[in-house]
Structures are given as C-alpha cells and as structure tokens.
C-alpha cells in the first residue's frame, strides 16, 4: 500500500494477506481518479441529475422555537434513495466502472446503503449482491424489497446477532474469494484503508455545501454542527467541511440504546476501548478479553460495535465531542420533528435531534446549529408504529 491510512494511531489495514492486492488496487484507482477531470465531471453530473444535489439547508422554524435556539437541517433525506448514502455509492460505483469491475457487493444495516448500492448497480448495469443480517432484514423489509426491485440479490446473514457487523464479516469473506472481478462498495467511513479516506471524500460534499449555504443564507458559520454516528459516514461528511473552523463545535451522537449502564447500546466512542475490528484500529465495544460485544439500538443503521477511525482521532484530540441518545428519546425526537415540521426523520438522524432536544433552553437563543438530517424516516414507520402505537 502506498499510504498507511492512519488517523493518529487509528485506522490502518488489518486484513488477511489475501485482501492486500485488492486494497492496493483500490487505493491506486482512488488516488488516480478522484481528482481526474473526466471522473469529477461525470460524478458531478450524476450527483446533480441523478441524486438531486445540492441538498437544501432548511431552517426548521417551529422546531427551533421549541428548543429555543436556531436549528438548520441539512436535507440529505431529500436525495434520491432517501439518504446521504447515494453520495458514496455514486462515487465508489463510478470508480468501480473506471476500474473495469462488473460486480458490486455491499453490506447494509438499515438497508439505506444496500438500497443506494442496488440503485447504482441498476444504473451501471452491474451485478449486485447485498449482505444483510437477518435481524435487519426483518426490521427493514421495505428496503429489502426495494433492493430486489433494483435487481440486487439480498443475501441473508444468520451469524452473530444478524446485524451490520455480521453482514460486514460475510461481505469481507465473500470478497476474499472473489477479489478479481468484484468491487466491495463499503458503506461507511470505517473498515480497512482506503475506505475511511475514500468514503470521507465522497461524503465531504455534505460539509462543503453546508458551509457555503450557511455563509450565503445566514451570513456566518454555525456554532454547532451535529450528526449521528454509527460507522460515521454522514458525520464525517458534514464535519469535514468545518474541521478548520475552530469555533464551530462538532458533536456526534451515538446510539445509546436502552441505556449505557444496561450494556444494551451501540455507543462505541462513549463506552468502548481501543481494539481491532474489520481492518481498522478503532474504538470497539468488547469484553475484557477482546471478544466483540453484541450491540443494540432501535436504529439498524447505528447498530455497530466499531466506528470510523477518524472519529476516534477527533475524539482523542478533542476536536469533536461524542454523546449518546437513548432509544426512547430518539422516538420522541422522531415524533416531534414529524409533528412540528411535517418531516419524518430516519431513526438514525433522530439521534442528533434527540441531542438537540436535550439542550432545550440551555443554549443562547442566537445559537445556530446545523443538524445533518442524513435520511428520511419512511423506512422506520413500522418500527415507530410498533414502539409507539397511535391512540385512536
């Protein structure tokens, strides 16, 4: 490999020898094309005409009045496919095309990345396989059906808890046996180098746009940027635009599940210890010996025991702060935004909103907050229905 792929001591590429040639090929291709004029031009056009970028920055007036400070939502939920995932799948999918690969594989938790990959598989006419845990298949059945309609094969993973971690394990195993013609389209800013760097690059669009929109619309930078963190791709995407703006506070919100003390959560940065999983040195939820813990969250997309290496670095350096929101508060936030703004947030970004609600009345009214609304909540309606039945 040309680069170490480290963020401080985090990251790297802890993978079996057999995967090294594939990662080298990917690294070479990424650095060759990511600034290539033709590649950039083609990606720009797709992001605009296919995905619907730029996404709006929306002032959520009623929600702002409720919490007592100014909240702007970066509307990634309005993109094609309903989430920020398409930024990355278009980027990596196009890279796969430039590399001459004909097959795509991807892991998925909530199904948003799986769907965004299936869309791109259809768009480029590539054979697509999506690895998804059985628990997630059950709780995100609408997305599963959409993937199949796009022509993707959805492979059900029984291992472990049947969630994102297990899907990644099996996608990595499959890739090991099919490295020659298959492109592994990784969905989050984690995993082995070059994925954290590459996914960050394709998602950095969110932060660049948001920064510009703040300056144009509000005339100044925000005080706080907040985003949910599972693997951390939407968060690193929006944070990256503000990293050099030292006065902008960056806050990542992890899945607090039932509660941190119950052990039933997925708050890796809040409660984890440094370890190695899925090719990277990262904070990790694990037992004393180093066996990886089972996680729990109402949101499939955050239900992951590791986290992107750059977030680990940002936590240690103090540049970003990470907190956790519990399932109950997340469901409250889902209901509140829907009632006040007519916007159904996905349960993942509802974590960021839950944090903002927890700050109600605690911040100066002139405080400007940008929250990354990374996906829409249609996929979660049945979960919300089950957890919070409506009274007739």
């Amino acid at each position: 490999m040309k680069y170490k792929g480290r963020f401080g001591d985090y990251g790297g590429f802890y993978v079996p020898e057999v995967l090294i040639p594939a990662l080298e090929e990917l690294e070479r291709a990424f650095y060759r094309f990511y600034q290539d004029e033709q590649f950039v031009g083609e990606l720009e056009q797709l992001l605009r005409d296919y995905a619907g970028r730029p996404s709006p920055l929306y002032y959520a007036k009623r929600f702002s009045e409720y919490v007592g400070f100014k909240v702007y939502l970066k509307r990634e939920d309005l993109l094609h496919g309903g989430a920020h995932k398409v930024n990355n799948t278009l980027g990596q999918g196009l890279l796969a095309k430039y590399m001459g690969k004909t097959k795509l594989i991807a892991e998925t938790g909530a199904g948003q990345h799986g769907l965004a990959t299936a869309m791109i598989g259809a768009l480029f006419g590539m054979e697509t396989k999506i690895f998804m845990g059985v628990t997630d298949i059950e709780r995100q059945s609408v997305n599963v059906h959409k993937m199949k309609l796009c022509g993707a094969e959805v492979i059900a993973i029984e291992g472990g808890t049947g969630t994102l971690k297990d899907a990644i394990n099996d996608a990595l195993r499959y890739w090991t046996a099919h490295v020659t013609d298959t492109f592994y389209l990784f969905g989050s800013a984690c995993g082995p180098h070059p994925y954290p760097t590459m996914v960050r690059h394709f998602q950095s669009r969110i932060g660049k746009e948001a920064r510009l929109q703040c300056l144009e619309k509000i005339g100044r930078l925000p005080d706080i940027v907040v985003a949910c963190v599972g693997g951390g791709s939407n968060a690193i995407g929006i944070f990256s635009g503000f990293l050099d703006d030292k006065n902008v506070r960056l806050i990542g919100v992890e899945a607090g599940g039932r509660s941190l003390s119950s052990g039933k959560h997925a708050a890796t940065l809040a409660a984890g210890r440094v370890g190695i999983l899925h090719g990277a040195k990262t904070y990790l939820l694990q037992d004393e010996q180093g066996q990886v813990s089972e996680t729990e969250s109402v949101s499939a997309g955050l239900d992951y025991p590791a986290v992107g290496p750059e977030h680990c670095y940002l936590k240690d350096s103090g540049r970003a702060r990470y907190v956790a929101a519990q399932d109950d508060d997340v469901l409250d936030a889902f209901e509140l935004l829907t009632k006040m703004e007519g916007i159904l947030p996905a349960l993942e970004p509802a974590h960021a909103l839950a944090y903002l609600i927890s700050q109600k009345g605690k911040l100066d009214p002139e405080t400007i907050v940008v929250a990354n609304l990374s996906g829409r909540g249609d996929k979660d309606v049945s979960i919300v229905e089950r957890c919070r039945p409506l009274e007739d």
Binding site: Y14, G275, I276, L277, Q291
Partner: protein, 289 residues
C-alpha cells in the same frame, strides 16, 4: 522444546511432509477438545495449529466459525487456552503454531501474550488479520519472546512480496491454496502446485499448505508437489460438528481421518524415497526419531 527446524529437518530426512491438523481450542468444550488434540497427536500429527476462538473470524468460513462459537459458548478464554497448551505439551512435545485474530493479542498485551504463550510451549503466532505490511507491530515482541514467525502467502501474492514475506519468516510459510476463506472443498485448487514451486525457488524456508484441504488425496497431491507440510482444519471441525452427541465416535473418526491422511502423505514423497525409510512400517504412532 521441539522446534520447527528440528521437525522439518527430521521429516526431510524421512522424506515426508509434515501433517499439521488445526483445532479451535475448546471446541466443543475444554475436556473434549483436549481429548481430540491428544488423539490427533497419537494418530500422527507432526505439528499442531491451534486457534483461540474469536467472535468475528473474518478469514474463516462457516465451519470454523461454528467451531469458534461452540468454543466460546463453552467458556473458552485466552487464559484457559494457556492451560490447554501446557496440558498438550505434557502429553507430547510437538511444535504448536497459534492462529489468532489480532484483537485478542492486543487486549492481552502483545509482549505479555507472546511471552506467556511461548513459555506455555507455543512455537509461533500467526495473526490472520495482519499482513506483512503491519508485521513490524508484532515482529520484535514475537522474536524477543523466543517465537518463530509464520506468515501467509496467497495465490494473488506478487513475487516481490513473496520474497519480503519469506525474508521475515523463521518458522514456515503458511501457503493459502485458494482465494477465499477456510473451508472444505471438493477439489484441490489448480494453482497450488505452481505456488509451491514459486516459493521453493525463492526461499529455503519450509512451505506448508492449508485452506480447502479435506481429503487424504488432496494432502498426498500437495506433498507430491513438494510442500513441507499439509494443514487440515475445516474437515476436522466438520467431524467434531457431526458427532457432537457421540464423543467416542468423534474421537474414533478424527483418529481414523488423521491416520488416513498420514498414510497418504507417507506414500506420496516428493523426492525419490529414502531407502532407510519404509512408509509401510510407519504406523499411527508418529516417527520414532
């Protein structure tokens, strides 16, 4: 403590490849696992590959994953694995290679891990999820603990990289016969002979071949192709899985399988047979050296 060097040079004189079975320590439970490994030694294993079970074994196929889960469910821990190895070494002094996922070593503490396990009788530690690029992270600690090094070479490893890997290897090269994860396969990969020949040209370090070897014929073909050792894992885990309700039958089938592979290897010498060595008289009890 017997070294790889001693075993491979003895076997070279006997003109036979080493038989190296792999076991997940504690599969299906501690006591049965001890009985299984001792049975394998008695049936003719020359070297042991032992894995401490990990929750997320990304280099392993479904069979070994299930073995890991069985072992973890029965309460296997890194500490108990230390005891296990001491117990095996009391039974017979055969070299032991550990097959590990890095996080378990990292959490235990690298230096302490290598020291404790070497003292218990381990000869080498192969980290499945660490390539030669990151070997520096563990190399010094392993060497100063007195361990030999074992690294993997796969069918897609470039020649320059093979040389680099060979230059850092003091034990043996773990040659992966297929692109993919561990697991029994019906047919032997057609790239393996070329791979052995390539490695033999660039290094005098012993070359052992694993992944996908499930039949005595496979083992024999690999020995004929010039490999110094044959590693068999998933097939044995399958025999364990299939006989979970009958331990006696489990042990008998494992002994039978290992004996059969041992005979097949014994009859498949790469070079012209050494006159003083008669495979027919070489029973299940290992070489009398």
């Amino acid at each position: 403590m017997k070294t790889y060097k001693q075993v491979f040079s003895e076997l070279a004189q006997a003109n036979r490849a080493a038989l190296i079975p792999f076991f997940v320590i504690g599969d299906p439970d501690l006591d049965t696992s001890l009985a299984i490994v001792k049975t394998a030694i008695d049936a003719g294993a020359d070297v042991l590959e032992l894995g401490i079970p990990f929750s997320d074994p990304i280099a392993d196929g479904p069979t070994i994953q299930k073995a890991d889960i069985r072992a973890l469910k029965s309460g296997m821990t890194v500490r108990k694995a230390l005891e296990f190895i001491r117990n095996i070494k009391d039974h017979k002094d055969v070299p032991i290679g550990l097959l590990m996922y890095y996080n378990l070593i990292y959490q235990y503490g690298k230096e302490r891990f290598f020291r404790d396990f070497h003292q218990a009788g381990v000869n080498s530690v192969l980290v499945a999820d660490m390539s030669i690029d990151d070997a520096d992270e563990i190399y010094d600690a392993a060497i100063s603990a007195g361990l030999d090094t074992v690294f993997m070479v796969t069918p897609n490893t470039e020649p320059a990289r093979m040389k680099l890997i060979a230059s850092k290897t003091t034990g043996f090269i773990y040659t992966v016969s297929v692109l993919g994860v561990t697991g029994s396969r019906a047919d032997l990969s057609d790239v393996v002979e070329g791979l052995i020949a390539k490695l033999k040209k660039i290094t005098p370090v012993p070359v052992c071949v694993g992944f996908g070897i499930s039949k005595a014929e496979h083992a024999a073909a690999i020995a004929r192709a010039g490999a110094d050792g044959v590693i068999i894992g998933s097939k044995i885990a399958e025999l364990i899985e299939r006989n979970l309700s009958d331990k006696g039958k489990m042990l008998a089938e494992i002994a039978g399988f290992i004996g059969k592979v041992r005979r097949a290897i014994g009859n498949s010498v790469a070079k012209p047979p050494n006159e003083s060595f008669d495979p027919a008289q070489d029973g299940f009890g290992g070489l009398n050296i």
